[in-house]
């Protein structure tokens, strides 16, 4: 007479499964689909999304954390980063003079972010990468407002 016990267990399992799915069904406010072009302003991005890299700033001083050490340039397999540096006349230390990002060569592998010893680099969330000409993909990252801008002067 094991059949009765098995039947009861089976019914319990099936009803439990249907209970779970109906509860998901009613969560209209927690729908994960995003209707992209319309909701551009309120788009929810995954925090670990790998978009264009960005240069981070020190929250207190507002200066770039980058010390122009060049480890990211060495780590980059595609040679898509160029760091220009100059000596600070006061302290006689190197400082960042220009951070150029050849996005047309970047594979978004993230090795530059992994190697950075000063946490000065991060993968960004910007995924709208299309451009009409190659020149628009060569970017300068150390701009005053932090937004990358096309850099025709890049070496």
């Amino acid at each position: 007479m094991a059949i009765f016990g098995k039947t009861a267990t089976a019914i319990k399992g099936l009803v439990g499964g249907m209970w779970i799915t109906i509860n998901h069904y009613w969560r209209f406010s927690e729908v994960i689909t995003q209707q992209y072009p319309e909701n551009r302003a309120t788009l929810r991005m995954a925090p670990r999304f790998r978009g264009k890299i960005r240069l981070l700033r020190d929250p207190e001083s507002g200066a770039h954390r980058c010390t122009a050490c060049g480890l990211c340039v060495k780590a980059c397999p595609n040679n898509s980063l160029t760091v220009q540096r100059e000596r600070d006349p006061a302290t006689n230390k190197f400082r960042l003079a220009g951070y150029f990002y050849h996005f047309e060569r970047c594979t978004l592998c993230g090795l530059c972010v992994d190697t950075c010893k000063f946490s000065a680099l991060a993968m960004g969330n910007d995924f709208e990468n299309a451009a009409f000409e190659r020149g628009a993909l060569t970017l300068r990252l150390d701009t005053p407002d932090g937004a990358p801008r096309p850099a025709p002067e890049a070496p």
Binding site: I3, L14, T21, Y25, V31, T33
Partner: protein, 367 residues
């Protein structure tokens, strides 16, 4: 009772007949005109129904998985299935080189015709029934098997091993589960005492059989539900088109409008089995009445009979879709074990108990 013709649908057919007689005169012409009108209405209804059901299925599937489903074509994607249908119609009709051409072209028509004809026997409201037939239920169950023939013909004629395997599974599965479905319906027929859909609905004036037949009514309802999911070849019994094993089963080689006809038949079939279930177990178009509670009964009568019918059927269709997007697919041997070792003995014993109860008059409100 509201006297408007939308509520008193039994007034419609005599009124139409009178109008046509005045218009055409000869009774033969009147009959021909009535046939044409009913066929056109049924065809239009089936097309609209299939489009709506596909959209609803996609929406239910999406929300079970916390997605949105189609949203772009029309408000909330309402016109998506129409666009898909137009796309399918405009595509090329490909027939495989080695296929049995005649049977290959006939199979989708068989599938579609079976559901189309079967739907003509369902009473949607008082006197709103294309064919009134005194053994309607048996006829509908028989016609349902022609659909299997269509599936098998499609699998055989495609000259594709996956199609043939899918068709073989379909044949085995539908023949097995038809037993349980029919036995479950017969368990209620012994209470209702008729095979005529109209009589079955009329017998539920005092209450629906699902609760008036003590316990067996509900058990038979569940058995019929499970067996009809299997007959529609839907998950968890969709081995017929198990994508991971058979690409698309019997309709692998079909494209364009022929595929659309299989698809249409499949979705109308869901509506068909749900409407049979609603008619036999849930009182068809009968409104929900509680004995002498006149106030409640008057409130229930505010909804027209066809409203009751479609409400009951829609709830069942929703449960079908809910089940589909909850459960995983069974294995072939599990499928057969379940039918022959569990469902069939259960439905046979239900029938035995139901016969005893019906002859002894041990059910609620015996006439």
């Amino acid at each position: 009772m509201i006297e408007h013709w939308l509520w008193r649908t039994e007034k419609i057919p005599p009124a139409v007949t009178a109008w046509l007689t005045g218009l055409l005169g000869h009774p033969l012409l009147v009959d021909l005109a009535k046939m044409a009108i009913v066929a056109a209405l049924l065809a239009g209804f089936i097309s609209a129904l299939a489009l709506a059901l596909v959209w609803i299925e996609r929406k239910v599937a999406a929300h079970v998985q916390q997605r949105l489903g189609p949203m772009r074509v029309g408000p909330h994607g309402l016109l998506q299935t129409l666009a898909d249908g137009l796309k399918l119609m405009s595509k090329e009709n490909i027939t495989p080189l080695e296929a049995d051409r005649f049977i290959f072209h006939l199979a989708p028509l068989l599938c579609f015709a079976a559901t189309f004809v079967a739907l003509a026997f369902i009473p949607f409201a008082p006197e709103i029934q294309a064919v009134n037939f005194n053994v309607g239920l048996v006829f509908v169950l028989g016609i349902g098997s022609v659909g299997v023939l269509g599936i098998f013909a499609a699998g055989w004629a495609s000259n594709n091993k996956w199609s043939l395997l899918g068709a073989m599974r379909a044949g085995a599965q539908i023949i097995s589960y038809e037993l349980s479905a029919t036995l479950a319906l017969i368990s209620i027929l012994v209470f209702a005492g008729s095979l005529d859909f109209r009589e079955i609905v009329a017998s539920q004036d005092a209450g629906w059989w699902i609760w008036r037949a003590p316990v067996v009514g509900f058990v038979a309802f569940v058995i019929y539900g499970i067996a009809s999911v299997a007959e529609c070849n839907r998950t968890p019994f969709d081995l017929v088109e198990g994508e991971s094993e058979l690409t698309a089963g019997f309709h692998t080689e079909y494209g364009s409008i022929r595929f659309a006809m299989f698809f249409l038949a499949e979705f109308v079939n869901i509506f068909l089995v749900c409407s049979i279930s609603a008619t036999v177990f849930l009182g068809g178009w009968m409104p929900f009445h509680i004995g002498d509670a006149a106030g409640f009964n008057r409130l229930a009568d505010l909804i027209p009979p066809w409203g009751w019918f479609f409400a009951k059927t829609s709830v069942l269709v929703f449960v079908f879709m809910w089940v589909r997007w909850t459960f995983p697919r069974l294995r072939v041997d599990q499928l057969m074990n379940f039918e022959w070792k569990f469902l069939l003995p259960l439905s046979l014993s239900t029938l035995a108990v139901a016969s005893v109860l019906a002859t002894a008059g041990w059910f609620f409100f015996p006439g």
